[in-house]
């Protein structure tokens, strides 16, 4: 649905509020703002909006959908023109995911990411902190695969409640 044309210039707060409603297509409890992928909102003197986003993973297939969803949501609020730009710097980190969003991830059944490691280039057979099961809160869990059903998740298993679950990879 497209809102009637507006006369007042849009504000940045208004655009940020719209971005709160644009959900990640793969993890629909997180908005693009929760994920930390929106890096800037700029509005020029004529009211043209530029939203700058950064991809989560280089090969994330959702990025084009996300860019389109952002543009569509802003246009649907009657704000035009809109341009969505991509930046790669600084690179995205899961440390940008807000505390509130982490709680929603857990409620959705996905263990939130731990702190991103910035340490050495080679990290083999690393002793990683145990992941907490999002269902029963047990730390008696194991990582079954460092890679999961989407680029941003790994596969885990809870020995306490004997259920598989996903973890948002810390990167």
């Amino acid at each position: 649905m497209v809102a009637p044309p507006r006369t007042a210039l849009p504000t940045r707060d208004e655009v940020w509020a719209i971005l709160d409603t644009v959900m990640d297509p793969e993890v629909p409890v997180l908005s693009v703002r929760d994920l930390g992928i929106v890096r800037a909102v700029d509005i020029d003197a004529a009211g043209a909006v530029t939203v700058t986003v950064t991809p989560t993973y280089s090969g994330c297939p959702a990025i084009l959908v996300i860019e389109q969803d952002i543009a569509d949501a802003i246009v649907a609020a009657g704000i035009t023109p809109v341009q969505v730009k991509t930046t790669f710097s600084p690179p995205w980190t899961t440390d940008w995911i807000t505390p509130d969003a982490r709680a929603r991830l857990k409620a959705y059944g996905i263990a939130p990411p731990g702190r991103a490691e910035s340490g050495g280039l080679v990290q083999l057979m690393r002793a990683r902190p145990a992941v907490q099961c999002p269902y029963c809160d047990s730390f008696e869990t194991e990582v079954r695969s460092e890679f999961g059903t989407t680029a941003c998740k790994s596969l885990c298993w809870c020995r306490s409640c004997r259920q598989p679950f996903e973890e948002f990879k810390a990167i």
Binding site: G59, F88, S89, V122, L124, F147, L155
Partner: protein
């Protein structure tokens, strides 16, 4: 803004052809290996590994997309990443020989991935300090991903090398077979020297020292033997267009849909 598509700002004193060639080499390595690894999809030894390889392939193709997009902008001839990926012939590809080698068994795939992951980690670590801002931004992003890939391939090398007699022998054989493709990774030519002089490319000899020390450490911990040194093959390298017979077959498969239906959308 640094890294924003459409705002290429090459630092002075970098001949555009040097930058274009350097970006093609980086992009083509990831495109070709990404396609190779994607061929495991549906054939992985276990479900988790099938998913892992598909994820790694996706990251590599994503990195190739960023690098070839930038290459197309630098070239300024209207070619985007898809034109570069699907409408160049074999002799115009600039990837190294290692990445175009067939998948073989799981051991061969893991050894190829491990040798390349270490190379990628030291390469992107160096390129994150490149004087070219867009390239440095892509490298810093990709570095996070390839460190994760190296954890996967390195852990597998340790498991397989220090596993059963069968798994040990297979990865040792794979290491011995693929080793002859590794000198090419560090063979600097005029493009590499010009990129280094302009501050946009890495010092390949410094990278080689770093690479060999990481590789040796993991190989020895995996109870495997380092293969004997081999000389660089004489003549043109794959980076200059002289590929093995495997690349053409792979490209035929990779490019057929785009070439049969140019501009198709779905």
């Amino acid at each position: 803004m640094s890294g924003v598509k459409g705002s290429v700002t090459p630092p002075p004193a970098v001949p555009p052809n040097v930058l274009f060639e350097a970006l093609l080499r980086l992009g083509d390595d990831r495109l070709v290996l990404g396609h190779r690894v994607s061929q495991w999809c549906g054939h992985g030894p276990i479900l988790e590994e099938d998913i892992a390889l598909a994820n790694i392939a996706l990251d590599l193709v994503g990195q190739a997309t960023m690098l070839l997009h930038l290459a197309g902008e630098v070239e300024g001839a209207g070619r985007d990443e898809d034109a570069l990926a699907y409408f160049r012939d074999e002799i115009h590809f600039r990837n190294c020989l290692l990445v175009e080698q067939p998948n073989g068994d799981f051991g061969v795939t893991i050894v190829r991935q491990f040798l390349f992951d270490v190379y990628s980690v030291v390469m992107f670590d160096a390129l994150a300090r490149s004087a070219h801002p867009e390239l440095a931004a892509i490298a810093a992003k990709a570095l996070k991903e390839v460190k994760y890939h190296l954890r996967h391939s390195g852990d597998w090398l340790l498991k397989l090398g220090d596993g059963t007699i069968e798994s040990h022998d297979r990865v040792q054989r794979a290491l011995n077979t693929l080793w002859r493709f590794t000198p090419e990774l560090f063979a600097a030519d005029d493009i590499d020297r010009a990129a280094l002089a302009a501050g946009i490319g890495p010092d390949l000899s410094a990278m080689q020292a770093q690479w060999i020390s990481i590789v040796r450490d993991v190989v020895e911990r995996a109870t495997l033997a380092m293969p004997p040194d081999v000389p660089l093959r004489a003549g043109r390298t794959a980076r200059q267009g002289a590929h093995s017979e495997h690349l053409g077959h792979m490209l035929a498969e990779m490019q057929i849909v785009a070439r049969s239906h140019p501009g198709a959308q779905w």
